[in-house]
Structures are given as C-alpha cells and as structure tokens.
Symmetry: C2
Subunit: 222 residues, 2 copies
C-alpha cells in the first residue's frame, strides 16, 4: 500500500497527459490545494493529515506544495481566514443597511448560514483547529471573530432599545446565537433541506431567543 518512494510511477498519474503539462490551471492552484486540505482536515483532523496526502489529492508530490504555501500551518491559516475575514467583510455590511434591527439581523443570519453551508468543511476546520495555528495567526482569527460577535451584540442591543427584542444581556445572547448557528457545520449533510434549516434557525433566534423576556399567552386551557 506504500507508494514506491524512489521510483517514478509513470502510469499512476490520474492524467498521463503526453503533452508534458499536467495541469493547465493557472493561479487557482492555491485555492485548489486549500480546498483539498480542508476536506481532509475536516474529516481526519489537522495533524493526522500529512502534506503528502494533501499533495496526492491535487496530483502532486508533497514537497511541491511548498511552491504554493510556505508551510502546512499556512494552509490551515488560509482556510481559517477564508471563513472569518472574508465573510465578515461580505456579510457585516448587511447590519448597516436600512431597516429595523430585526430585519437586518435576519439578513445577516441568512447570509451566515448559507455561507456556512456552502463551505461546510472549511467552517468546521476553522472552528476546530484553532489551536494548531501560530499564536499570531490565531490571534488574528479570534480578533476577527470577536469583532463579528460584537457587531451582532450591538444590533441586538439596538433591537432591545427599539422594543423589538427582549433580552437581559445582548452579549450573552449573541454568543448563544452564534454557537447555535455555527453548530450546524458539525452535522450538516448535503441532503438536508437548506431553505427549511435557514428559516428554522432564523425563527429560533428572532422569535425565540430574542423574545424570551417578553410576556406571552400561556397554553390554551379552555
């Protein structure tokens, strides 16, 4: 089962392209590697996966990966960054749009969950493998996450002031909400009905958690 180390497996390549150029892709190689690595990291864990295994998945030898990434940790960092910095910059403007706090938060939640679903493995890796990052890289990721969390807390606080929401501690609610929606990436499968999940969770948050301090009618009893 071990690959013959010293020999060139001429016919073992997935593409024995006789032109000598194995892959015509230009520039997108980094993303391709990161995507393959994220898949492996998600299902086996960062440290279990070797550079040679990642390389094989994209049709290279392990050492060649260092033409695209300076280290294994940088691969992980790129994955984590793509799930914190990028969506933060794309989604948080939704909180600055027009509308009530409730509609703005709903828009953010929908974008958040849909993005998570579209990048499930990357999201899972970004949550799970933080300790494997360099202290500097880890700090950058957690800072970004804290900022995102703070923005959610602020829009909740605005909703409390406007009377739309009823919670004691917007900060505590923000943490609980984000933990709940991020939990999706642990169990999501491709055969789930995304529309239904999104609307369920938006309901849990907007009509549930953020309303739990409000008086309600009890169960029908007559």
């Amino acid at each position: 089962m071990s690959a013959p180390r010293g020999e060139r497996p001429d016919g073992a390549e997935p593409e024995p392209s006789p032109s000598g150029r194995p892959r015509p892709i230009a520039g997108g190689r980094r993303a391709e590697i990161a995507a393959a690595a994220a898949r492996f990291f998600a299902e086996q864990g960062y440290h279990t996966v070797g550079m040679r295994e990642i390389a094989e998945a994209v049709g290279m030898r392990g050492a060649s990966l260092y033409n695209h990434f300076s280290s294994k940790e940088e691969v992980l960092y790129a994955i984590a960054l793509g799930m914190t910095k990028v969506p933060a910059e794309e989604h948080l403007p939704l909180l600055d749009a027009e509308g009530t706090p409730a509609t703005r938060l709903a828009a953010l939640l929908r974008a958040h969950i849909r993005h998570l679903a579209g990048h499930r493995v990357e999201h899972l890796v970004g949550l799970r493998e933080l300790p494997a990052l360099t202290p500097e890289h880890r700090a950058e990721i957690t800072d970004q996450r804290r900022y995102y969390q703070r923005r959610v807390r602020d829009v909740i606080a605005a909703g409390v002031r406007s009377g739309e929401f009823a919670v004691d501690s917007p900060g505590r609610a923000a943490v609980a909400i984000l933990d709940m929606v991020n939990g999706i990436s642990w169990w999501l499968r491709s055969d789930h009905d995304m529309d239904e999940i999104v609307e369920s969770y938006v309901g849990f948050v907007l009509d549930g958690i953020l309303q739990h301090g409000r008086a309600r009618p009890g169960p029908a009893s007559g």
Copy 2:
C-alpha cells in the same frame, strides 16, 4: 526548573520523599492521567501532545503510561466516554421524574450545563477530537450522543403535545439547543458567574426557542 527525576545515578535515591514510597495513591492513577491528558488535549489538540508530555505532568516517563492505558487512543476514549456515557446515565433519569415536560427539561439542562462547567476541558476534548478515535470507539460515542439527543427531542415533543411548547420540529429544536449549550465549553472561563449562565440558557431554551411558534404581544405601543 527541570525535575531532578530525569537522571538516575547508579546508587542514588530514586525519590527524596521521606516515606520512600513515591506515590501513596492507589488506583486513582488512571483518572489522574486522564485529567492531565484532557488539559493538554484541550489546549493543544490531541495529536500535538505526546505521551512523554502527559507522563511528565503526572511524574512518570512516557513508557510507564502503558501500565495504565493500552494506547494513547484509549486515554482519549476514556475522556470522551466520561463526557457522554457517564452524564447520560446520571442526567437522563431526570427526564423520567415527575413534573411537566418543561420542568423536567429544565432540570436536565441545569444538570447538563453544570456538569459541562465542572469538566470543561474534558467536554471540549470530547467534542473536538472525535476523529482521532478508533471507528469502533467513535461509533460508541456518537451512538450515545444520538440517544441523548433523541431523549431531548422526545421530551420536547411531549411538551408540544401538552401545549407547553410551540415548535414545528422537535428534532431540529433539540439539535439547536444542544449545540447552543455545548458551545459554552468553548469560551467558558473560571471567572464566569455560573448561576447566571445557567439561568440565562434555561431561559433561552424554555421561554425562547421552545416558545417561538406561539403568538405574542408586540412591542408596547401605547
């Protein structure tokens, strides 16, 4: 700062301990090792931590750990089992006690969160390092977790039937609730006010998520 136990000169005393017996603890050694390992696993990740590092923390050499565990994976398995099987057997009977579904679920949530807080690192490891387990061990842990989740779903369904709760999908709500409360172990620190956290989350669940389908009065407008 290095311990003097490292080198063993020819005729020197192995331990300066006056009693001559290095450790009077009997039998509790397994738990001591697992606790130390859980601390390391939680903050560095399972694969980053070596047997020699765990051993040093309990005053042994790496190879001596194999007098207590047959493999490194068994250490992880013991930790994970202590956070699924044990609490399931201790807490789930609360769902069979007397009272309404709401009071029974509240009791379970309180016990769950308090147990989580008392074993934060073990809980985190049990969540995060599942892929490092043997397929058989992993299956056992996830089966246990699925059972726990099903019991929560059932009590939610009972509450819906009795009119105490108002949710469309008890199963979906159970998953969301458990993800939310389990998320606590990712950020909990020892200086948090546990009573306040517990009651906040019980409120999020019982008065929030599980009521979100019920009609409510809107924000006060007159």
